[in-house]
């Protein structure tokens, strides 16, 4: 059963409360959110495997802390898209602002357009696929998960990286401290092909370069002080 929620007619609080009230076995599994008009915190903290389509642009933190839900934004998203996502999928057909997927722990975020700075900052297991470019300091302090960029990456990619995997098809303006290019083996190409397929994005895995942590900052050494 599809439920339409008009954010021009009812407050955001009612929307999120209604989404949180969904329990297992609920038949309201498909939601259409109209007139978002840049609202912040649209569909945050959802826990059930429902399908949510947002017809327009959203502001900050759309899909924040999402669990299990599939959220599609037909438009662009403001800062903090899908912050701390646990599972499920968030797809944006336009662009995303800063810190998309920040601290995300699982699930998948697909940004069909470009993402701004700090995309995937401090990510902890989420997969993020960006169709266009990402801004500076993307994957800063990223701990786990994969960031895939079909376009170019800005300065300081993967600064202070832990164990996340970064794949970039275009150019990288510069790598951040302790981030280095890694070998792109058959297993990585296969894993990337599967992720691209899951994201519904067509690209040749062999055309990407892979980046990861050089692990030189894992234990303090005064001779590395300039890297901090």
């Amino acid at each position: 059963m599809s439920t339409t929620f008009d954010l021009a007619a009812a407050p955001l609080r009612d929307l999120n409360r209604a989404l949180h009230a969904i329990g297992p076995g609920d038949n309201r599994t498909t939601w259409d959110i109209v007139n978002p008009r840049g609202a912040h915190s649209v569909a945050v903290g959802v826990t059930e495997p429902v399908e949510i389509t947002v017809r327009g642009n959203v502001g900050y933190y759309c899909g924040g802390m999402n669990e299990n839900a599939t959220i599609r934004v037909e438009g662009s998203a403001g800062p903090g898209l899908g912050e701390n996502i646990m599972s499920g999928t968030i797809r944006v057909t336009g662009d995303a602002s800063q810190y998309a997927g920040a601290t995300g722990r699982g699930g998948l975020i697909v940004i069909e357009g470009n993402a701004s700075s700090r995309c995937g900052i401090s990510m902890k297991g989420v997969d993020i696929v960006v169709g266009g470019n990402v801004g500076h300091m993307s994957a800063f302090m990223a701990q786990a998960g994969r960031l895939v960029v079909l376009g170019d990456a800005g300065h300081g990619l993967g600064d202070s990286l832990y164990e996340a995997d970064l794949y970039v098809r275009g150019t990288v303006a510069s790598l951040g401290a302790d981030c280095e290019e890694k070998p792109m083996d058959a297993e990585h190409r296969a894993a990337l092909a599967a992720l691209l397929a899951e994201a519904g994005v067509e690209a040749d895995p062999a055309s990407f370069k892979r980046y990861g942590s050089a692990r030189t900052l894992y234990h303090f050494n005064v001779d590395n002080a300039d890297a901090y």
Binding site: N16, S41, T47, M65, V222
Partner: protein, 440 residues
Amino acid sequence: MTKPLTPPQPSATFDDMTMAEIRRAAATGIYDIRGGGAKRKVPHFDDLVVLGASMSRYPLEGYRERCDTDVVLGDRFAEKPLHLKIPITIAGMSFGSLSGPAKEALGRGATLAGTSTTTGDGGMTDEERGHSQTLVYQLLPSRYGMNPRDLRRADAIEVVIGQGAKPGGGGMLLGQKISPRVAAMRTLPEGIDQRSACRHPDWTGPDDLAIKIAELREITDWQKPIFIKVGASRPYYDTALSVKAGADVVVLDGMQGGTAATQSVFIENVGIPTLAAIRPAVQALRDLGMHRKVQLVVSGGIRSGADVAKALALGADAVSIGSAALVAIGDNDPKWEAEYNALGTTAGAYDDWHEGRDPAGITTQDPELMKRLDPVAAGRKLANYLKVMTMEAQTIARACGHNHVHNLEPEDLCALTIEAAAMAGVPLAGTNWIPGADRS
């Protein structure tokens, strides 16, 4: 005739500690990292005294007349504010920096005393949730262990902007304490040095924070109080901006407030003393018409009921303790003196909490060491200590004629030093002089 000798003259600038630190830095090539708060002497509550009743006011009978101590935290916007029996809470300390039994002891003690505990930079454990009747869940820059399930099972959420030991700084948990369980909670490889961010990953500045707080309220259906914790540096503006960003409660942590591990140079040189932070924060609340509407919780060097009474008299709604709570459950106990000596220190001065070798079993992840702490007995000690502090604060409040500890006021205090008089905004004892009162 012998030539008169010039006696050896130690330098006040290059004293023994200073020179030892220079030698240590030269030998190791790393700054000194330690736990705890500022150890240098700074103006503190000891520099204030309370003006008991006499002719001009009459006191309440010490053991007969009521003097209430309860406090409500977070009734500005939240549907379910906290109602605590005592105005003393347990400050945020992480599982990771502390052992599981230590966190359990804090939860047990606080619950017995009718107050709250707080998680730390590492997430919430089941032991902690299970043993804390009221639990505040911290949202930190690292977001270690952050998830919506724990957000919903918390009783309040504390957005940590900073802490008194290191306003503007991140954390550092050295590899010795990144055990398999801690590593899993923080999504880190075992045994590496963990660097915590100093700034939140998905907002910058108070305008963004207002939107972030609105998101947290949306996720929790506007039920949970939202605290903002700041390290004391510019308390007037930080408090005003916290109110503007939508806080229900402001937690203000002075430079004596402890940390699990940070550079010693940071702990001793960044931030201002607790005593100096309270009045500007209260003034900000008053200027906004929000005093007693947005509650102010003060921490950093609170040790006794006298400190509690003085902090409340200066305008705080509650205080929070960390270091003192650790001492109450057994930290730095002289009974482990031989082991402290083996670590090159002495009971009372042990602060290498980040190394994970705490003989008391509190600031460690070593399974053998942590067995030394009995969480039930340690929890009882904490409850005793909290009750003693509360009774002491009541004793002082009654002596000033107040039937609630919140009725204590600045007029109940005077200062023993000019510095304390200026910082606390109360007269120097025996005078009506408040240094700096003519300047805002």
